[in-house]
């Protein structure tokens, strides 16, 4: 695992998510897409570290610190263990995983925010559905450039 390249990729995704995509109502969640990517293509230990780190980066541009670190870490770890049992080679499966992870992680984030007394927005599920759908459509296409940058081979899959 090339940690310097990982750090650069995450920083780039964080800055893009906060600035370029910040003005859009419905937008893909780049950090969530990267979460799924690393959960699928790294070993379990690396997947845990990357999941929590990506969650921390998401918290930096989020409303409060903590919720996304916990939810991304939890679902990234679960995804890494699940991938040992079920292969996720094909793009439709990857899109489905991104969609489900986005819905679940997003719901958990708002639940954790409510524990801190933050009000829940009225259109939360519509917004989450939009973000999840957009991320699921865009996400699998971002796996190749991410794999190229991280020097991870994804053409041949091997179970871990």
């Amino acid at each position: 695992m090339r940690w310097f390249r990982f750090a650069v990729l995450i920083l780039l995704a964080t800055v893009l998510q906060a600035s370029f995509f910040g003005n859009l109502n419905i937008k893909p969640d780049l950090l969530l897409i990267l979460l799924v990517f690393f959960a699928i293509y790294c070993n379990t230990t690396e997947a845990i570290i990357t999941s929590f780190t990506i969650g921390f980066a998401a918290d930096l541009i989020g409303h409060t610190m903590g919720p996304q670190m916990i939810s991304f870490g939890l679902f990234g770890t679960a995804l890494a263990y699940l991938h040992q049992v079920i292969a996720l080679r094909k793009m439709p499966y990857q899109a489905l995983v991104i969609f489900i992870t986005a819905i679940l992680a997003g719901s958990m984030v708002y639940f954790l925010n409510s524990l801190k007394g933050e009000p829940t927005p009225p259109n939360i599920y519509a917004a989450l559905f939009g973000i999840a759908l957009y991320s699921a459509i865009v996400g699998p296409f971002l796996f190749l450039p991410s794999a190229w940058w991280m020097r991870i081979k994804i053409s041949r899959f091997s179970r871990r």
Binding site: L11, T14, V15, L16, A18, S19, F20, F21, G22, N23, L24, N25, I26, K27, T45, I48, I49, F52, G55, D59, L60, I61, G62, H63, T64, M65, G66, P67, M69, I70, G73, L74, T77, L112, L115, K116, E118, P119, T120, P121, P122, N123, I124, A126, A127
Partner: protein
């Protein structure tokens, strides 16, 4: 074990006081201010802007700014006339003279259905504190929610966590943000014309005179009879705002 330690760290962040954990977010916005601004400018330039056809014509942004300024001046004139009529014997200091204005640059503007905020490059070192009002194009857009030494987070009035006291047709109401760049005033006693001005109420120590905050976008009947629900939209394009002004009451000379 690694998972447990990380989860513990996450929960520590979650339950730590906001003024401690916000330092990380402010530090990120301060350190990466330049790339964040570039990304936002690229995103904004991708939006359509009509070029001016004639040098004597005003741009839409300038027109909105002047319109908001006119609404504020008219209300101040009406308030001043009422004060004169009361024949007060106290010396009246015009509201504007008690206010200080701190200009600030916008770093990022995360606005979507779930939250409406913006980060500015001024903080406690510039005299900013929580709950101070923030203006853009001569209209109130929100209040300071969190502040550190050199950065501040502004909660826009359209944020679901925002509750703002407002005046509509000389009656006072509480306006709540509903996300998606909109706010709502529920159970208004009279029907209000679409396009009417919504003014932010005075708040001692923070805002000495009412100022325009939005305009009525929709007026629908409430579930209860004879009551109306009003949807309010901003009177300036907050997403395109590059500079804002923070009101600091009675600034030190």
């Amino acid at each position: 074990m690694l998972f447990t330690w990380f989860m513990l760290a996450g929960f520590i962040f979650l339950f730590s006081p906001g003024n401690l954990t916000n330092k990380f977010q402010f530090a990120f916005h301060r350190i990466f201010r330049w790339p964040l601004s570039i990304g936002r400018n690229i995103s904004l330039s991708a939006g359509t802007r009509q070029p001016l056809r004639d040098k004597d014509m005003l741009s839409r942004d300038e027109y909105k700014r002047f319109q908001n300024h006119l609404a504020n001046i008219i209300l101040q004139r009406n308030d001043a006339q009422q004060m004169v009529q009361k024949l007060s014997k106290m010396r009246i200091i015009p509201g504007w003279e008690r206010m200080g204005f701190v200009p600030a640059d916008v770093i990022t503007v995360p606005i979507d259905e779930l939250r409406s905020e913006l980060f500015i490059n001024r903080g406690q070192d510039d005299g900013l504190t929580k709950e101070q009002f923030v203006l853009a194009d001569n209209s109130v857009i929100g209040t300071i929610a969190d502040v550190d030494a050199r950065t501040a987070r502004v909660r826009l009035f359209t944020d679901p966590a925002a509750n703002t006291a407002v005046r509509i047709a000389n009656s006072k109401y509480l306006m709540q943000g509903i996300g998606d760049n909109l706010a709502k005033v529920s159970m208004v006693k009279q029907k209000v014309k679409v396009g009417s001005e919504v003014m932010a109420s005075k708040k001692p120590g923070f805002l000495d005179m009412p100022m325009i905050i939005g305009k009525v976008a929709q007026c629908k009947l409430n579930a209860q009879p004879l009551l109306w629900d009003i949807t309010v939209e901003p009177v300036c394009d907050i997403q395109k705002a590059e500079n804002v002004v923070v009101i600091v009451m009675n600034p030190p000379d």
